[in-house]
């Protein structure tokens, strides 16, 4: 019982304690600051960058990344990680497209793909919550299983969405200006923020994240809470998959969402999702995803090879995490 004892001893008092440190503010919003600096830099030095369209473009292009980043903060709240999100996206997109082709009812398609994703999340969450399998390993296995299922369902073929009513949805702009994705993101991030910060479920999840053993001793059904967090993540991945496949009007089961978990983890980690005393930081995650997308756009607009942007992103991740570590001490 060594581990459980030391876990209780080192438990941080996070519930009900507001941040007292002034450095916390800087830490929490470091991504916003990086984003602001990058944005300013681009507005001045990059040609044609500063137009209202490019800002909306930035948001529409990074919608899926932001969604996954938000969902990743939820599992990180219970001190877990889910790297199967990319595969879950592929599965949901495949089911959505398939039902759309055969049945034609978009609502049914959304429901069925959501159901499949809930099952994936439940399975992974139960493995982690009940059997204490490391989340990294459980979701690594799930990543391959779910991707395999997506490929088996389509026989490895690429599916197309032919219904133009649906594909035009991703270009729909509310009031003719604001892309619909913006509202989806706004509503969902506010909802998740409230869920994790202002509800009983959020408090319980925080307790589980801090020490599952202590939470269990306090009468919290940890496996239930952890499973629910994984289900929420899977549902977000489901939505991201559907949005992605509507945007490109086709699904390639082997490619859709591939390596997405890397981007999402990078965004979340940069947002201080893991290292900050409080593990939940939606704003940080959102701006983390935006920063990564901005770097990609910047490299594109400057006509530099896309490959360099991966290197730059990697360096940024390592330094972001390192500096948050320093501030932590």
């Amino acid at each position: 019982m060594r581990s459980s004892f030391s876990e209780i001893m080192t438990m941080r008092p996070i519930m009900g304690v507001k941040s007292v440190n002034k450095g916390d503010w800087l830490k929490k919003y470091s991504n916003v600051i990086i984003f602001a600096i990058l944005f300013l830099f681009n507005s001045i030095f990059t040609k044609n960058f500063l137009s209202i369209d490019s800002i909306w473009n930035l948001i529409t292009q990074s919608t899926t990344a932001i969604l996954i980043a938000i969902s990743m903060t939820v599992v990180m709240f219970v001190d877990c990680i889910d790297i199967s999100v990319g595969s879950t996206m592929a599965l949901s997109a495949v089911i959505f497209t398939h039902v759309l082709q055969t049945n034609g009812n978009p609502l049914l398609a959304v429901l069925l793909s959501a159901l499949a994703c809930v099952l994936c999340g439940l399975f992974c969450g139960y493995m982690v919550g009940r059997f204490k399998i490391q989340p990294m390993i459980a979701s690594l296995a799930m990543m391959y299983i779910v991707r395999g299922i997506a490929r088996v369902l389509t026989n490895g073929k690429i599916l197309f969405i032919t219904d133009t009513n649906i594909t035009s949805l991703s270009y729909y702009r509310v009031f003719g200006v604001i892309p619909i994705q913006f509202f989806i993101l706004l509503i969902l991030s506010v909802a998740i923020y409230i869920l994790m910060n202002n509800t009983r479920f959020g408090v319980r999840a925080a307790a589980c994240g801090d020490s599952a053993v202590a939470a269990r001793a306090a009468g919290i059904r940890t496996e239930l809470v952890i499973s629910l967090c994984f289900i929420i993540t899977a549902l977000f991945a489901c939505l991201a998959g559907i949005i992605e496949c509507i945007m490109v009007a086709c699904v390639n089961p082997s490619m859709l969402g591939l390596n997405f978990e890397g981007t999402a983890i990078a965004a979340t980690v940069m947002g201080g999702g893991v290292i900050a005393g409080r593990k939940f930081n939606v704003i940080g995650a959102i701006f983390g995803a935006l920063v990564l997308q901005l770097i990609t756009i910047m490299f594109n607009m400057w006509n530099i090879d896309f490959a360099y942007s991966t290197v730059v992103k990697a360096i940024i991740i390592i330094f972001a995490v390192y500096f948050q570590n320093i501030k932590q001490k």
Binding site: M1, I137, G156, V269
Partner: protein, 321 residues
């Protein structure tokens, strides 16, 4: 304790579950394809295919034993394959030495990121693998690199030839490396330290073990082995492409877990990992030979296998407590 014969048998099975799995797989393979599976030709093919997973799993075992993980291994493999091919037209010596040194350096950086900068292992190495793949895309400009001169016969010999028509030369290398690794883990101070650090970090540092340097060394060994796999196998394809080996970390982790190494660190053997790698190669081989299931099922099966093994580890760990 052990009351009757059945308990003895079940105890034996539990201890050698990987070996039992291997035997079961051979039976399954024989049933699936009775005419071809047990031929010398096929089995030597299996051995040859097991080299990549085997070497990556060997490296992965080092880092997992000291409670860390390294997601850069497949990127290091691809990178070292490229460098070997790139340098082979100038000098064979440098074509072998440079990738190994670079691999060790990547391991050093990984280790420093994890131990000195206090960044979680999977975050740091994920970022490093992104960086390496990016660099590889930059230097190859995204197209497979083919060396302008024919490969030196020694590389061809290692990658393609077999000893006595049975044992592929690269597999002989693999077995020799596993012998060396088993010796290091059992008899050398570094190996003992790795077990101690993975088993209980605080206790290890109280005993006077430098946990940071042990972890760094484990990462250096892992990345050097990955680089070695690039050198050994590059001649088989004859070209280096930037996506080579993507996703092979999962195969390596699966092989390590199936071989009975606890993914929480501190417990596991080289022999087990070797058997795990063989199991992975056999699964691939059997999948390639049958016609009933689509190839996409292979990853499902391996994922389920990994889950099952980890689940059984978790359950048995609970019983020990």
């Amino acid at each position: 304790m052990l009351r009757n014969g059945f308990d003895h048998i079940s105890m034996y099975f539990k201890k050698n579950s990987a070996l039992v799995g291997l035997a079961l797989l051979i039976i399954v393979g024989t049933i699936v394809n009775p005419t071809y599976f047990l031929t010398v030709n096929n089995l030597s093919n299996v051995l040859r295919q097991s080299v990549l997973v085997g070497l990556l799993a060997c490296g992965m075992m080092f880092v997992i034993l000291c409670d860390s993980i390294d997601l850069t291994l497949s990127a290091v493999y691809a990178f070292s394959a490229y460098i070997t091919l790139r340098l082979v037209e100038y000098s064979l010596f440098w074509a072998v030495v440079v990738p190994l040194v670079l691999g060790a350096m990547v391991g050093l950086i990984n280790g420093i990121i994890i131990t000195k900068l206090n960044i979680m292992a999977w975050v740091g190495t994920l970022a490093m693998s992104m960086a390496l793949r990016g660099l590889l895309l930059v230097v190859t400009t995204g197209v497979p690199y083919v060396p302008p001169v024919p490969l030196p016969p020694i590389l061809d010999f290692i990658a393609k030839e077999t000893l006595f028509g049975v044992f592929p030369v690269s597999a002989v290398f693999l077995v020799l490396i596993y012998f060396a690794v088993a010796y290091v883990l059992k008899k050398v101070r570094l190996g003992r330290n790795i077990y101690a650090v993975g088993g209980n970090k605080e206790a290890a540092s109280m005993m006077g073990i430098n946990t940071a340097s042990t972890k760094i060394k484990a990462h250096m060994i892992a990345c050097s082995l990955a680089a070695l796999s690039g050198i050994l196998l590059t001649a088989r394809v004859g070209s280096a492409y930037p996506d080579a080996g993507t996703g092979y970390e999962m195969y390596a982790v699966a092989a390590v877990a199936i071989g009975g190494t606890y993914l929480t660190g501190g417990r596991g053997t080289a022999v087990g990992t070797f058997i795990g790698a063989m199991i992975m190669a056999l699964v691939t081989n059997i999948f390639n030979m049958q016609k009933a299931l689509d190839l996409s099922f292979e990853r499902i099966v391996i994922g389920l296998l990994l889950l099952a093994v980890v689940l059984s580890q978790a359950v048995s760990a609970k019983k020990v407590k």
